[in-house]
């Protein structure tokens, strides 16, 4: 499943990049994430709850690793989620470029979905992933805004 | 695990009591707790229709209901169709028309047709096919089920 697109922040790339590396922010940008803690440099583990059609409240053990970090331009995020209802595995390439005083973020992710979620949730995977992406990006945008205004804390 | 909930259901005219988990499916309650194994389970996701029973006279998928939902209600299963030693006219018609082979989907089909015929005493073939379209059968190819319905309609003089 390919998930790609663009999002524009009002903050400059350096602020956005720093925010994207913050596990607290990452957690907020993935709806349903219950906890995300650092277990190593740029490596995080946590739990995430997802609902896809008839498979409701599927809990995933999440492992996220950030590599190929080139601040403030790009990085690669590897996601590994396993749970009772299936698994998801994928990589997202994120790159930032200035957009006036703000930042234009390009993201391109290739996600593999397997197990029960893939077996019975197919027709909804698209819809659900888009919905999650939308609310995730909104949360991300808000986090970045708060940082810019010096409001709220780093996780 | 949750506390069992007391329920009382009238099944085929008899009051049946139980103490069940909220998540117990009606199909499992009927088959295991009430010992009525005539209702069969084919998919547990409401598509095949094998688990069809009557709830207060209307056809429902017992795999999509929880036992607690029918507390105080009336359920009819295939075991309640024949009376005394005699088959229900629809059952007899199924036998006469060879409308069953392995018999696994049959109880669900019978319970689907009973309210249908009650509400449509003289159905056209297209209507019968549509009424049956929610019951999957892998053995018969449906043709004889339609024939069986026609026999019942004919013998009851269209009523």
């Amino acid at each position: 499943m390919i998930v790609e697109g663009v999002y524009v922040f009002t903050a400059p790339p350096a602020v956005v990049f720093e925010a994207l590396l913050d596990p607290g922010v990452i957690a907020k940008s993935m709806p349903g994430t219950k906890e995300l803690v650092a277990v190593g440099p740029h490596e995080y583990r946590g739990k995430m709850m997802v609902g896809v059609g008839p498979v409701t409240a599927a809990e995933f053990d999440l492992r996220i690793v950030l590599t190929e970090l080139t601040p403030p331009v790009s990085f690669l995020m590897s996601v590994d989620g396993t749970g009772r209802f299936g698994f998801t595995k994928g990589q997202a390439r994120v790159s930032l470029e200035p957009d006036g005083t703000g930042t234009r973020m390009n993201y391109n992710a290739d996600l593999q979905v397997g197990g029960k979620i893939a077996a019975v949730g197919q027709r909804l995977l698209d819809v659900v992933s888009r919905a999650m992406l939308r609310s995730g990006l909104e949360a991300l945008g808000k986090e970045v805004e708060d940082r810019l205004r010096g409001v709220g804390g780093k996780a | 695990m949750s506390e069992p909930i007391r329920i009382a259901v009238t099944i085929n005219g008899q009051r049946v009591r139980g103490a069940v988990e909220p998540r117990l499916l009606l199909s499992d309650f009927l088959r295991e707790d009430a010992g009525l194994t005539g209702t069969h389970v084919g998919c547990e996701h409401g598509v095949c229709g094998a688990c069809t029973v009557l709830l207060d006279g209307e056809a429902v998928r017992s795999c999509l209901l929880f036992a607690v939902q029918v507390d105080g209600h009336c359920v009819e299963t295939v075991e309640g169709l024949a009376s005394g030693g005699a088959l229900h006219p629809l059952q007899a018609a199924f036998r006469d028309a060879h409308a069953l082979q392995c018999g696994f989907c049959t109880p669900g089909v019978l319970l689907t047709l009973i309210p249908f015929l009650r509400d449509n005493p003289d159905p056209a073939e297209a209507d019968i096919r549509e009424a049956l379209s929610g019951n999957l059968c892998r053995c018969t190819g449906y043709a004889n089920m339609i024939d069986a319905v026609r026999r019942v309609v004919r013998s009851e003089g269209g009523s």
Partner: protein
């Protein structure tokens, strides 16, 4: 004998009253005191190394009695036996790799079992599945058949060093010469894709170990209770007589229920013995898509060499067959394909080569048709294309190639799935074709009907195809017939019944021999305690092999009864007649004795009997046919295709078939109607959709579409009877017939409806979106 014959009549079925009133016992209906329930943890990955599995938390959950992983099985962990050794075709390569009870080092398909939880209820067992931690290291999945054979393809069975499961070539005559001599060569590539058998009853096993009697009872939704008993007894270290396997009423078999030994069949009895409590496992529908076998994917590259008159000079077919992750059923399916391709035709030169490939998908074993539909599809399509290019009509090209009725028995010169030479016993094909063409109105349709409809904007198409179904193979079945003191007759045989009416048809056969009513004949099938010798219900052989055994046994009982009656009535055997359950002297109706009385007399409690006498009126007989026989038929259909939505509606479906003597016309028609429904499903509604990672994307009936009453027309069926010389009843099998040529008929009909678009249908299944894509592609090619 003045009593009417029962064979040939459509009597009401003996089993119906129980089935209709919900009193019939299916495996999930078995409820035993103290019964535990099992659930399986299954792999989410199609190909992965099993790094670690930890069931400690699951074991600790309240209500859980045991959790087993491969390690817990100890010496009991073993690969299942190979069920069907490959036939002795010269040069054949076969790599055996059978399934395991629980994955030990790696998993090879989605849904492969990793652990078994046994708990107080199925709900609790499923809860406990989430407590098991599994670490699977995903490996690249093998899903493409060509890529699987590539040099750097990931290996599914490392010890084999290849993903090639088998390679086999069967030859007849000289294909190269035929090719050189041909006036026309038709070459095409075909694809026939996977489907599930999807019986409405999923599989299940219940096992109970009686510690005091030291007996194990197993209820299993199997089509082969006797081999299951024999195999499990051996594996569990028990005597065969200590194990009873019961296949009670079964909610549809269709093939996958004859596959054995499924992991659950191996593990549930073992667990019951260890835990000292009965254990039940019932498959749920989602599991069924992985845990029960399926069939169909083959890729063909075929060529037909014909003369300008449309006479077949030869066929060459090279194909790949997907066997899934393991190959316990040997080469039955692809050999069926090889043989069935020849159909009812004279094919003087033939070269058929197949390669069986392992993939990371569930195991493939026979499903109704068992590889025959692929052979029929290839041959019928090649003939259709040849007919079009030669300007011969589709009926005529078939007629010209039929084996003439005076050439039987006809030896094709290659080996069949029973390892015997493929020989057709009897047949008379032309009248079948003519009748089908008449009934569907072929000539009128071609002359005016189709064009008239076109003018009205309706795209109608006609398909008419011919097939052979090899049925009634050995090795053997047996039956025991007993007259009880009450006068009722008891029949026991080793095959099982999954809806095809054995309780009635076998009763009819015995009733004829013993002059009683079929209602007085009680038939027991599928219980190893009632009858312990036999192989099972598969390959359309029940009535042929078991039915004949019932017939032979009944005749032996009849002979015993007449001999005893002759003594009692002091008459010559030749003067006796048997009717209505009584033997009487012809012309002297008062001199009579009932079968009941004879049965009692034949079993004295005291006194002396003549040496060599057997007590009672009972006999056992076995029947093993010299080889399988060949049933045949023609399917014809008229479809209407909506040019905008590409939705296909079947307007008429005609079947003219010949399965030898018909025991019960309505039951035979039911088998054909049901088979056609299955075939329609395979053609147009059902497709198992896999992604490149071996994930099944439609593992539910919401997305795997079984045909409904709105999708299956009432088939117009005509029987013809060319008896088989291979058994005394003259019967041939018919269980799979309806499903076999449906794909070929569908393709021809839809192509005919879409004539003018340039479309060629080389694949099954189709769907509205696929047809749309094919039409677009064809139009693009035409424009160039």
């Amino acid at each position: 004998m003045t009593a009417p014959a029962w064979v040939g009549r459509s009597v009401p079925r003996n089993e119906d009253a129980r089935l209709l009133t919900g009193r019939a016992l299916f495996v999930d209906d078995v409820q035993l005191p103290g019964m535990l329930h099992a659930a399986f943890l299954r792999s989410d990955h199609a190909h992965a190394r099993l790094v670690r599995i930890d069931a400690a938390a699951a074991r600790a959950r309240a209500g859980v009695r045991a959790v087993y992983t491969a390690e817990d099985l100890g010496d009991y962990w073993q690969r299942a036996p190979l069920l069907v050794p490959p036939p002795p075709v010269p040069g054949l390569v076969f790599n055996e790799a059978t399934q395991v009870p629980l994955a030990r080092t790696k998993v090879r398909h989605c849904g492969e079992p990793l652990a078994m939880v046994v708990a107080e209820s199925r709900y609790l067992a499923e809860d406990a599945l989430a407590d098991i931690t599994v670490e699977l290291e995903a490996l690249p999945a093998v899903t493409d058949l060509d890529a699987a054979l590539g040099a750097d393809a990931p290996l599914i069975h490392e010890e084999l060093g290849t993903n090639l499961a088998a390679h086999c070539i069967q030859r007849k005559g000289d294909w190269a010469a035929a090719r050189a001599w041909a006036d026309l060569l038709i070459a095409r590539k075909f694809r026939y894709d996977r489907g599930a058998s999807a019986a409405i009853e999923n599989r299940g096993v219940v096992a109970q170990w009686d510690r005091r009697a030291e007996e194990l009872t197993i209820w299993d939704t199997t089509q082969a209770p006797i081999p299951i008993r024999n195999g499990l007894a051996a594996m569990l270290g028990l005597r065969e007589s200590q194990v009873r396997v019961v296949a009670p009423f079964i909610g549809g078999g269709f093939g996958p229920k004859i596959m054995m030994f499924y992991p659950d069949e191996l593990l549930i009895p073992w667990a019951a013995m260890r835990l000292g409590r009965p254990v039940k496992w019932i498959e749920d529908r989602q599991e069924n898509f992985y845990a029960t076998t399926q069939e169909r994917l083959q890729l063909h590259d075929a060529e037909l060499a014909v003369t300008r008159d449309g006479k077949i000079l030869g066929v060459r077919d090279t194909f790949l067959h997907d066997t899934g992750a393991y190959d316990p059923y040997g080469l039955t399916i692809p050999i069926n394909t090889q043989c069935t391709l020849l159909g009812p035709y004279e094919v003087p030169n033939y070269e058929s080569e197949f390669t069986v490939v392992f993939t990371n998908r569930p195991i493939v074993t026979p499903v109704r048709g068992a590889g025959r539909q692929h052979g029929v599809f290839v041959m019928e399509r090649l003939l259709d294309f040849a007919a079009r290019e030669l300007g011969i009509d589709v009926v005529e090209i078939r007629r010209r190639n039929y084996i003439p009725p005076d050439k039987f028995p006809y030896d094709h010169g290659i080996l069949f799935q029973d390892s015997a030479p493929l020989t057709y016993d009897s047949g008379n094909y032309e009248p079948v074709l003519r009748e089908a063409a008449d009934r569907i109105g072929f000539t009128e349709f071609r002359r005016t009907g189709q064009a008239t409809a076109r003018a009205d904007g309706k795209r109608l198409g006609l398909g008419i195809v011919s097939y052979i179904e090899g049925t009634g193979i050995g090795p053997y079945e047996g039956a025991r017939v007993t007259v009880e003191p009450s006068g009722s007759i008891r029949v026991a045989t080793g095959v099982g019944t999954q809806g095809q009416g054995h309780f009635t048809t076998f009763a009819q056969i015995v009733a004829d021999a013993l002059g009683v009513h079929p209602e007085q004949v009680d038939v027991s099938t599928g219980d190893t305690r009632s009858f312990g010798w036999g192989t099972g219900t598969f390959a359309s052989r029940g009535i042929v092999v078991a039915g004949t055994a019932c017939h032979e046994a009944a005749l032996l009982v009849r002979a015993k009864a007449l001999k005893l009656a002759a003594e009692m009535l002091e008459a010559a055997e030749g003067d006796l007649q048997l009717a209505d359950g009584r033997i009487s002297v012809r012309g002297s109706p008062g001199d009579a004795v009932s079968l009941a009385q004879l049965a009692i007399t034949a079993n004295p409690l005291r006194g002396a009997v003549k040496p060599g006498t057997e007590p009672g009126l009972e006999a056992t007989a076995y029947f093993g046919p010299a080889r399988g026989n060949a049933a045949n038929g023609v399917h014809a259909m008229i479809v209407e295709v909506d040019p905008d939505t590409m939705m296909v509606k079947i307007l008429r479906y005609v079947v003219v078939h010949d399965a030898g003597k018909v025991i019960h016309p309505v039951i035979v028609e039911g088998q054909i109607q049901g088979g056609v429904a299955h075939g329609i499903g395979n053609c147009f509604y059902e497709q198992l959709v896999w992604d490149d990672n071996g994930q099944l994307l439609n593992a539910s009936l919401m997305d795997y579409l079984l045909p409904t009453a709105l999708d299956v027309p009432t088939v117009e069926i005509t029987h013809r009877e060319t008896p088989s010389p291979l058994n005394p009843l003259g019967v041939k099998g018919v269980g799979e017939a309806g499903a076999i040529p449906t794909g070929a008929a569908f393709a021809q009909a839809v192509e005919d409806a879409l004539a003018g678009t340039g479309i060629e249908i080389l694949e099954i299944p189709l769907s509205p979106s696929r047809l749309f894509a094919l039409v677009q592609e064809a139009e693009r090619t035409h424009r160039r």
